[in-house]
Point group: C2
Chain length 138, copies 2
Amino acid sequence: MFVPMARAATTSDVFNAIAEPQRREILVLLRAGERPVTELAQELGMTQPGASKHLRVLREVGLVRDRKAGKQRLYRLDARELRPVHEWTGGFERFWNESFDRLDAYVQDLKQARRRSDRWQRQDGKRRRSQRRPTARS
Amino acid sequence: MFVPMARAATTSDVFNAIAEPQRREILVLLRAGERPVTELAQELGMTQPGASKHLRVLREVGLVRDRKAGKQRLYRLDARELRPVHEWTGGFERFWNESFDRLDAYVQDLKQARRRSDRWQRQDGKRRRSQRRPTARS
DNA sequence: CAAACATATGCCGATAACGGCATTCGTCAA
DNA sequence: TTGACGAATGCCGTTATCGGCATATGTTTG
């Protein structure tokens, strides 16, 4: 028998944790320093239990730590686990710098070819290369 | 009446797209160059429809583009949308470099204080600071 | 046109995600 | 101990996700 499963063993990894906008917002807020749950909930415009649940997820992947302070529980950032994400995306850096796009490369080639041939035949007063943007999505 | 919604308007942003291990894997595979769906499906150990669906998600957030090549459809990487993620995580860099941890900061302070006081009283041959790494997850 | 091949889409089942509410748990103070 | 307060947990309803299968769509070739 087949046992289908949703999102395999994904749950509870860092990529998943930061896929939630509210959780990202929490991390951003925590850059300013420790904060109790209620305060965070308020800034996020959600209920306290809601915030607590997000904080749980963040805690479980190690992005956040908590310490007791009286009856409060102060959460603070622990960004170390964000590093793998940074590095993973960094592995694609050359693809967004270096002409990632065949089209770009192609256009560059055309330009070069033009320049070369221009040196040989100097006629053709017409405007060459008429803003190639093909109407771009409408 | 209340209309609860799951993951708000999250769906279909880049963070969500790369939250899926298989989709990350696809991106990695595509670094090597264009690839048809079937090939990807095979390397991922999943069915062709499965791969197609992941590719759809990636396409919708702009991480991937496709071009027709005969009866095949070749997918290629377009990593530009990965940049925002890289930059967002980069915004936390100082928290994992610079003593993110109060404990570390504390230890640093201790070291400094020691050094200072050492200049005044030169005793205490004991080892100071015993590798504070707190057992790291087991 | 039909057959063969490559992809996309639709449907389904199982499960996870999110948010709110009610409630429990834990801690401090009177 | 009781009351007040902060935070966590449980439950529920709604929606999304993921995977597989069957099927549709599209393209090339005979």
